[in-house]
Chain length 315, copies 2
């Protein structure tokens, strides 16, 4: 039997998966991401962990087809990552560096949101065919576009960067990316909190949110679900811009489906229905009827995508 | 020697081109578009014209590889056009209908903006490789995205419909498409006139534009070039939204180049420089440096694209 590994490198943990080459996730586990010395230990820790697992299971190196990696930064097709703020990484070649550390010969690497889109397309809601956009509503907003099995990379690796669509040209605050008016400033987990704080300041409406000391996106969404009027107003505002952003994505790529993932999407159908409502308002007539669905794989999407990068070369 | 025909069907004229199968445009000419009886005569006129030309040149039917058609409406890969307001056409299969009328066996059809993008990519500024977006600033705004030689169609044929990106969610007037706040409402030829009229009404600034009886987009652009302060303010406003729209397109597909065509683009480098200025303001950092260029083929882009649809099947 042959295997491959996936390693989804995040700011807090590295998720690792062992797959059979027919695409079955046999085992998954996590190790902490050591951020000391600008993340210098991260890749070595991953390599050591893979060897530990191979020893534990009695798997020989020649039975490992390859290792797929992803990380939260822009990764080129050459394997070069253009820095990664979460880990303290600068610009370096992720594939070559991991190759030296692990001596595995077949390694692929990609941006976490794009790799998650590939995973969700392959083994999740995507059904493995057609075209799909995944938008990941987490601390930030990531995205990936899959066209007939291939992730659209873009000349500068920026295809599918839905979080940085400008949706409010009048915005005065600056986004993490350096410009103003990005969707991420409104509709990511941190964007929802930021939007909520603005609403709480500018309005007198009574709200249970006023009593929360450290407001989270979940508090706002739970409040709206529970019928808190101001919380609902905030979620409507957020979904208006999400709907508009996704309608604009459809005017550019018009995929078979749009899939909503990431931590914020745990608000489920409640959130989905509001996004759909505004999508319809802003969508170009021919693509007004569109499958807009919740992601199915949750945190495993990245792992599956990592494996797929290795296995797609197989066929 | 073998040949193919291209026929670019517009609301006023049908442009026809005779090509050699190595992609050389041998001759081009126009016939009027007969709009009587909901455009019932248009396709028959085109077929008759092709036969006339073949007789004139002594070309046998078996030496015609095929005929590529385009029209200003959404055309599916099956050849079905979803209506065409300019011509009075309803929904019908353009390929099958033209096949019956002409008895040519190999016919392809596409949307005019998408076909023009293919033509500009193949023989114009696109250089025939990589990825490209063409935005056509005409009476409306059309667009087409070419990824490695293939036009991106979209599930509903709506990929590349850049004119219907929502750029102003606060807009109250309705676009031709039925929704509000589309880029086309601001930056098409008619959009520029509409924007200019708003500015002229709302502001007291003296302007030569106030003396023009039937204002055109060209008047506004010429006024701005000549140093009319209000005309320049209008063009800046238009280019702000164009720059923002195109920056958003880059966040989705991040192509090698963005190409500006259509009648409005005749304003040339003056317009291009203003679009580039605002593109940089709104673009996501990794794609801030981008080739933004003027189209080269002008009105011939559609003809070349029609020919390419036939010839690409060749190779």
């Amino acid at each position: 039997m042959e295997y491959c590994f996936g390693a989804d490198i995040g700011g807090t943990t590295v998720k690792i998966g062992l797959f059979s080459t027919d695409g079955i996730l046999l085992e998954k586990w996590e190790i902490p991401t050591r951020k000391e010395r600008q993340g210098a230990y991260v890749l070595g820790d991953v390599a050591a962990e893979l060897f530990r697992k191979m020893e534990e299971r009695g798997i020989a190196k020649e039975d490992i087809l390859g290792v797929g990696l992803d990380a939260p930064g822009p990764v080129g097709t050459d394997g070069v990552i253009q820095g990664c703020v979460n880990m303290g990484w600068g610009v370096f070649n992720l594939v070559e560096t991991f190759q030296k550390l692990s001596e595995f010969s077949f390694i692929k690497a990609g941006n976490d949101a794009k790799v998650a889109a590939l995973g969700e397309y392959w083994k999740g809601i995507g059904g493995g065919k057609g075209t799909m956009v995944l938008v990941t509503l987490g601390t930030g907003i990531g995205g990936g576009i899959v066209l007939d099995g291939k992730v659209l990379m873009g000349t500068n690796g920026a295809a599918g960067e839905i979080g940085h669509l400008v949706v409010n040209p009048e915005e005065i605050e600056v986004c993490n990316c350096g410009k103003r008016g990005c969707l991420e400033q409104i509709a990511s987990a941190t964007g929802i909190v930021r939007t909520a704080k603005r609403f709480l300041e500018q309005k007198d409406t009574p709200s249970l949110l006023r009593e929360v000391t450290e407001l989270s996106a979940k508090d706002v969404l739970d409040g709206a679900k529970a019928g808190d009027a101001l919380a609902d107003e905030i979620v409507e505002y957020v979904c208006k811009y999400l709907g508009m952003g996704l309608a604009n994505v459809s005017c550019v790529v018009d995929t078979d489906r749009i899939v909503i993932g990431g931590g914020v999407s745990k608000a489920g159908v409640f959130l989905l229905d509001k996004i759909k409502k505004y999508y319809k308002v802003f969508a170009f007539l021919p693509c007004r009827i569109k499958k807009i669905e919740l992601a199915k794989l949750g945190n495993d999407a990245g792992l599956y995508g990592c494996a797929k990068m290795i296995l797609e070369e197989e066929k």
